[in-house]
Amino acid sequence: MSTTLTPAPAAPTGTPARAPRTDLTRPPFGRLVRVEARKTFDTRAGLWLSASIVVLAVLATGAVIAFAPDEALTYEQFASAIGIPMAVILPMLAILSITSEWSQRSGLATFTMVPSRGRVIAAKAVVSLLVGVVSMVVALGVGALGTLVGSLLTGLDPVWDVSPSEFASIVVANLLGMAVGFMLGVLLRSSPAAIVGYFVFTFVVPTLSMTLAAFQDRWADAQPWADFGYAQTALFDGWPDGEQWAQLGVSSLPWLVVPMLVGLWLVTRSEVK
């Protein structure tokens, strides 16, 4: 017998195909944002990570009240104590929003329901941005509460020593941290790799850069323009001036913008398995 049978036109059985659908429209972007927001909080990991922002903010505030000397109970003190855990957790949220689609393989469902991956990723970016801003506002509130409670306990006047522009630049710094997490997420598409990558990025690279600058004059001169981490330190000393913004912009090209573009290209092209 022959090993290849010619396909005979199949006699249609059953009823013919149903009439084509007419009510089909692309899911609007707002809907994708709402779905992605839901997905951020509907797992234990996501829920606890988000909750931990509030929990750690409260704990940090309590620690400042408990351990800092009375005259140090200023708003800035609270803000920076709360800022440290936030600066770590917010980028993790940004990373996981991307990488869980690959690490948990839910991307198979996500990207067959919405094949235009760019729109899904954009929706995730919007959610990360919103979560970042809302978290910062919560932190602002918790810090203010801490300042008031501190002043009640010490009897000193509350010290409001964080200006709106300082607060704004801290928000920018945290959003940049989230952007770095997002970049590592799309570039690596693996939760453990991206998380490790983030710590290398924020802790190892700056140390190496500082060490190099100590021995290499040329690197020391170039550092403000070439070291993204170094350029970001300006954000923690109030609102940056024009040159510092320029340095942030230039140094972000190799460290954030270009890898982000490569990552986005990879996300839209790569296989989802």
Binding site: M1, L5, R21, L24, A45, T112
Partner: protein
């Protein structure tokens, strides 16, 4: 309707899917059969836009999958029942699907009912699901948009016999309403009970395709003479007529011809028969083994008897 034309995927020098062309038609269940690693999943991922093809095209409902405005309303897809966030409940996964597609949340309960997952089961996290429950959840997610086409990769995997029967009924009903079903399996038995058309793939290439009836017909007719002593006479009659015949170990003969022709041959040779019927699934299974063996090894395996 699913149209696959010259679909090819290469990874370096390896051709995972090699020039695949077939059509899955409305109103029919098309079985995509092949051993593990034959390229079924890669082909299906290309059909739904998760893997970019090296060359060739695949269209679903007349369009590239990526060009469908709201795919779940037209195509239900289940590629891997375990590919879900383990920390979500079954109900949550369907809720996300319903919200993404823009369906009322009432569809979640309906599709849970469709696949017989209870409310308690739906509220458990997928981490605690058995493979069979995951398959049911995956079918629910594929059906939630009330699509015209289903693309299912190994959907019967992990189902118990009752589950397989349930799946068969679901797919049969779906196709009888005019839907197109493409399902893959590495087990012939699963495909055989449900498919109308079969595409057999080995090493990325199509090795046989046609309706189930055609492929079964290729297996010939099974015939048992009433008197075992007549077997030799019948073999001679068949050979004289130019029809290939193989003696079975238990006194039966497998003849490469349709049953009526074999009946006439036996009548002319004056051989009374105890049995005369189309060779059953064993024939298709043998063909499957043979075809896949051909492509799995470079040298063809010895074929049965004279039927080479």
């Amino acid at each position: 309707m699913i149209d696959v034309t010259a679909l090819t995927k290469t990874y370096g020098a390896h051709r995972a899917v090699d020039d695949l062309t077939f059509t899955a038609r409305p109103g029919r269940v098309t079985g995509f059969l092949g051993p593990n690693g034959a390229g079924k999943s890669t082909a299906m991922r290309m059909m739904v836009g998760l893997t970019p093809p090296t060359s060739g095209t695949a269209t679903v409902c007349g369009r590239r999958f990526a060009d469908l405005p709201n795919p779940p309303r037209e195509v239900g897809v289940l590629l891997d029942a375990s590919a879900q966030h383990a920390g979500r409940t079954g109900r949550e996964i369907l809720t996300i699907a319903a919200r993404t597609i823009g369906l009322p949340i009432s569809r979640v309960g309906e599709s849970l009912e469709q696949v017989s997952l209870t409310a308690t089961e739906a509220d458990r996290r997928v981490r605690h699901y058995s493979l069979g429950m995951r398959q049911r959840l995956g079918i629910a997610a594929a059906l939630i948009g009330d699509p015209d086409v289903l693309i299912l990769d190994e959907p019967a995997n992990g189902l118990d016999p009752a589950g397989i029967r349930w799946m068969r009924d679901v797919l049969r009903e779906f196709s009888q309403r005019g839907g197109t079903v493409l399902l893959s399996s590495h087990l012939l038995g699963e495909i055989e009970v449900v498919a109308d058309d079969i595409v057999v793939i080995g090493h990325g290439r199509i090795v046989a395709q046609g309706t189930k009836a055609e492929l079964l017909a290729g297996a010939g007719t099974f015939v048992v003479p009433a008197d075992p002593a007549d077997a030799a006479t019948l073999v001679r009659a068949c050979t004289d007529a130019g029809v290939e015949v193989v003696r079975d170990s238990d006194g039966g003969l497998r003849v490469e011809a349709e049953a009526p022709a074999v009946g006439r041959l036996a009548h002319r040779a004056d051989v009374p028969l105890a049995q005369l019927r189309a060779a059953d699934g064993a024939g298709l299974e043998e063909m499957f083994l043979q075809l896949t063996a051909d492509t799995q090894r470079e040298t063809p395996a010895p074929l049965r008897g004279a039927a080479a």
